[in-house]
């Protein structure tokens, strides 16, 4: 029983993204960035976004964290690249619903569905959401990581 539960959390896709995180790099020409940290577990990361008009031309991250946190950040960068700000916002909302047990739209979530298993491990939900909250702050900040008041 416990083995199956753990496999729900540590799915193959998650293990793969943890081992080989995508878009795991600095971005010199980012025009938005934000620092995120979870003081409870010491996870820290930086999310870089390059917005071209209304489109997320590039998104990357750096930092250290557990498998759930790294995989979630990695999957996030894949999901958001090329999306408009409005589309990204819809995906962000769907991730939030998925983590809090609300109704989700699988079409919008796509591959991010693999993170759904985290819901059964309440102590780990914050690991999965850290990168998303950081991305959200990045969108509202400038290239120095200062969150703007607008």
């Amino acid at each position: 029983m416990s083995g199956a539960d753990l496999r729900d959390l540590y799915q193959q896709v998650i293990m793969d993204h943890n081992k080989k995180p995508r878009n795991f790099r600095d971005m010199a020409d980012a025009n938005h960035l934000a620092h995120g940290n979870n003081p409870l577990c010491g996870d820290t990361l930086v999310v870089y976004v390059k917005l071209n008009g209304d489109v997320i031309e590039d998104v990357s991250f750096q930092g250290s964290g557990c498998a759930i946190s790294v995989a979630s950040a990695s999957l996030m960068t894949e999901a958001l690249k090329g999306k408009t700000v409005a589309e990204a916002d819809a995906i962000y909302q769907q991730m939030h619903e998925q983590m809090t047990g609300g109704e989700v739209d699988m079409a919008t979530l796509g591959k991010l569905e693999v993170l759904g298993g985290v819901r059964e491990f309440p102590a780990r939900v914050k690991c999965a959401t850290l990168s998303w909250h950081t991305m959200h702050s990045a969108m509202e900040s400038d290239a120095d990581g200062q969150v703007t008041t607008e």
């Binding site: 416990s2 577990c41 996870d43």
Partner: protein, 407 residues
């Protein structure tokens, strides 16, 4: 092997007898908080069932009994740490409050810009932040005794760190993150030779070894009850009587006064001067019961058995591939911090939990220790005398499960 009857002891701790996800619970998070024996649970419940009343006030029978039980607990603490007088034992919420009390009432009135407070690199945040706050308030400097790769204090420059500006040295007897037992007696001697008062944080020491403030000769000794089988929210500050007499009160309120008028308040005598408000009566009684319990098991006996557990765990866990033990001093209490290659401690904690093995993962409120080793967190197993060799085997099995899953 030790002479302790562990199976009989385990019957005193009802919480241990349960399954988690179909596995027997292996509670290896004792450095965070210990479990409580029925003797402690009953002492607290019996107090509320039979004796509950406020202390030091009423002339009625219940108040007398509550006062006797509360003051009886103080005497047990005095005996437990070998203090000379009950006046030297102040009940507090825990080690954290005790340190804040000393910072506020002893150090602050004599601390000036440019003065120094000496701590060590392996302190718990509770023995860092109160001093840092104080330093910020007056422009004093926090000086830190360095540590080595083995997780021991590096005392090569220690003599130079004790200066004419040092107003207090505050060090932990046992590191909560690493388990290292520090040579606090020798350090106290050296500090005293230069006239520097010493506070020893015994929070991680009292569950594992006799605490003897006469032998240590420290000026202050602090600990929390909940790490030594007593309830949460109770702890004690020991201070030498002559020093406590001179100190200003900590909080103002009822019970800490002799008389109050709008012109002037006369403070109560020791230790009540430092115990404003209705105290944690049931907690103190629970702490007294925990001391009775530890003494009935035998502190030397439990220490010897825990050492066997630690040696066995260190050999078993240390023998595994792809794993690094953090804190490898020869002088350790029963704490085993480790890193599994390529796996974040948080993932370790979740996978352990699924097998009934409860450990702590994180920075253990000792972030400077994590920074020293360049790691965000560790997985930490910590043992008490009710743990078994089988539970160490469960720990090893859980580590292998993690390695399997992350292979």
């Amino acid at each position: 092997m030790s002479g302790l009857d562990i199976q009989a002891i385990r019957k005193d701790f009802p919480i241990l007898d349960q399954e988690i996800y179909g596995f027997p619970l292996a509670y290896l998070d004792n450095a965070a908080t210990s479990q409580k024996p029925v003797q402690v649970i009953d002492a607290v419940a019996d107090y509320y069932r039979e004796d509950n009343a406020n202390v030091h006030r009423g002339v009625h029978r219940l108040s007398q009994r509550a006062t006797d039980a509360y003051e009886g607990a103080r005497s047990k603490v005095r005996d437990f740490v070998s203090a000379q007088s009950d006046k030297e034992i102040v009940f507090v919420r825990g080690a954290t409050e005790a340190i804040n009390l000393v910072a506020h009432s002893f150090v602050r009135p004599m601390l000036h810009a440019g003065d120094e407070i000496l701590i060590s690199h392996m302190e718990h945040h509770a023995n860092i932040v109160p001093w840092q706050m104080l330093c910020d308030q007056v422009g004093a400097k926090l000086v830190v005794i360095p540590m080595t790769e083995k997780g021991e204090l590096d005392l090569t420059t220690f003599d130079d760190l004790l200066t004419s500006k040092t107003k207090i040295m505050a060090v932990g007897q046992v590191s909560n993150a690493l388990g290292t037992i520090n040579p606090v007696k020798m350090m106290t001697e050296k500090a005293h030779a230069k006239g520097i008062p010493v506070l020893i944080d015994g929070a991680q020491a009292v569950p594992h070894m006799p605490a003897d403030v006469q032998d240590l000769d420290c000026d202050f000794y602090v600990f929390s009850g909940h790490k030594m089988f007593a309830p949460t929210g109770i702890g004690a500050l020991y201070g030498k009587q002559a020093i406590l007499e001179e100190m200003v009160p900590w909080q103002g309120g009822g019970d800490m006064i002799l008389s109050v008028s709008f012109e002037k308040t006369l403070y109560n005598e020791l230790p009540y001067k430092f115990e404003a408000g209705t105290p944690n009566i049931s907690g103190a009684i629970g702490l007294g019961a925990a001391i009775d319990y530890m003494q009935s098991v035998g502190i030397a006996e439990l220490a010897a058995y825990e050492h066997e557990l630690l040696m066995y765990a260190t050999a078993q866990v240390g023998g595994l591939e792809g794993l690094r033990i953090i804190g490898t001093s020869d002088q350790k209490a029963s704490v085993l911090s480790f890193m599994i290659d390529g796996v974040h401690p948080h993932d370790v904690g979740t996978i352990f939990d699924q097998q009934g093995v409860a450990i702590r993962t994180g920075h253990h409120c000792a972030q400077p220790v994590m920074q020293f080793f360049g790691i965000p967190a560790t997985a930490r197993a910590s043992f008490a005398f009710y743990n078994t060799m089988d539970e160490v085997d469960a720990l090893v099995g859980a580590i292998q499960k993690v390695q399997e899953l992350f292979a």
